[in-house]
Amino acid sequence: MKTWKRFAHIDVGSVEQAADLLRRGNAALIAGGTDLLGGMRFEILPDYPELIVNLKTIPGLDYIREEGGGLRIGALTRLEDIARSATVRSRWTALADAAHRTATPHIREMGTIGGNICQLNRCWYFRIPDNRFHCVRKGGKTCYAMAGDNRYHSIFGALKSCLAVNPSDTAPALVALGASIRTNRRLVEAEKFWDMRVPGSTVLEPGEIVTAIEIPAPPAGAKSAFLKFAIRKSIDFPIVNCAVMVAGGEARVCLNAVHNRPWRATASEDVVRGKAIDEALADAAGAAAVAKALALPGDRNKWKIQIARTLVKRALLASA
């Protein structure tokens, strides 16, 4: 097994202390560590952190609480605890299902919700060991997926020249449920939380740390669902996933693994607005979701368009 290159490690007692260390130099935060440590072991990035800042020693960031009808989840809450929570399942079903379909049971026992939404994007050129492709997401000039094997890449075009997809299962559920991300500095709507950064996947600034997820009470009679297409039931990242919340003639539909950021399918939402969802309407909403999708030259990722269309349809029917 490849061992890690040396790094220093520090347990911190507060978010402020972690933020302070982050601002000082080449440091990385660790919560569950499943994304960070795998990437470090294979040295996928040109920069190797000198210091690992352990957030798990910060008290009071691991909780699931109902607050004023809404839901508040601490950033250090393990995905498995979210998947098993009767509270989350009762009214925020799409999130419970998304957490349950993430990775493997072991990774869900280790990985946190804060880490899941901050994980780096998936692209085999970006993540290849020893940084063999110095791509745009690492500060290079080329997106190797553009002319390479891009069967898993974006069907909604590049963002800042990068075709890598956001692989989070919980992210589309948070967007569909209208969640916000609380950091040590501000509250960001989930929909605006992700962006293409070098090499990050979020709008977090240096020294900014996610502390909680805040999800409002679902509207009366709301139903939500999460569906995922992957080759295996466990382990695999999504090829496409989709979360939907339907309430009182309004729907929120969000796809992921189809673009650099979670992709809110507002065109589908327009199709179903004010109408009773049946097979034909859900089908039309699925078609609307991918009306602007475009396979990359060579059509290697064209199959994902059909999957996205079908997942939107099925998720809407499951929430109707």
Partner: protein, 222 residues
């Protein structure tokens, strides 16, 4: 029951191939692992390093740190480097070889599974220095307690080459600790992160369900 004997030797510090090699001085470094006599003693909390200036990343947390942890029934005090995995600590320092490596540290196979504070986790993606005060169970410990899951795996032939078996056994034991009556779907779901290249998958659910039944019988007898 050869499994038990092997595991027992390691636990008791008897002669195994690994301890022989180590004692014979073939290992380059002297492992800084000290089993602690008084079991059950709670480790003192490790003081977080002071949030000093740039020095914080240079001296206070750069070198080896002491961790005190319970592994199976023994208490250990170990000096670990920040970049060591828990798997490395268990295998190379403590001498428990059941956490295997298959996928190379990607977190994609489950072969290195151990139970950390009640949760089945991947020891290859867990930092040893973050395990201060932790309780770790490995397949050796599960075998030593004569947990029914071991006999069930034998009875149901739930392995062929056996390489992935310690990971499966740890995952199954963690499931049985929280679910006394798992369904086949529960078992399949819980074992979803463990790969078996011999493809013994269909034998696992009946084995774990049989172990659960045996555990329930044990409880009703006691």
């Amino acid at each position: 029951m050869t499994e038990e004997k092997k595991a027992g030797q390691v636990e008791r510090g008897g002669i195994s191939r690994r301890s022989f090699l180590r004692d014979a001085g073939l290992a380059a470094a002297v492992p800084a692992v000290a089993p602690i006599a008084r079991a059950g003693e709670a480790p003192a909390p490790r003081t977080p390093a002071a949030p000093a200036g740039p020095a914080a990343s240079e001296d206070s947390c750069d070198g080896p740190t002491m961790v005190q942890l319970t592994v199976n029934s023994g208490q250990y005090r170990c000096e670990v480097q920040p970049h060591w995995s828990l798997r490395q600590l268990l295998r190379d320092e403590i001498g428990l070889t059941s956490p295997k490596d298959w996928c190379g540290g990607l977190g994609a196979c489950g072969s290195c599974t151990v139970i950390l504070n009640g949760r089945p986790v991947l020891s290859c993606l867990t930092l040893a220095c973050e395990c201060h005060g932790a309780a770790v169970e490995t397949a050796e410990g599960i075998a030593n307690t004569k947990h029914p899951v071991i006999q069930a795996y034998i009875d149901y032939n739930a392995f062929q080459c056996g390489y992935c078996t310690p990971g499966f056994v740890c995952t199954a034991k963690a499931l049985l600790d929280r679910n006394q009556n798992p369904t086949e779907a529960d078992v399949r779901d819980a074992l979803g992160g463990n790969l078996c290249r011999c493809a013994t998958y269909q034998q696992h659910p009946p084995a774990v369900i049989a172990a659960a039944a045996e555990l329930r019988r044990d409880r009703s007898r006691s």
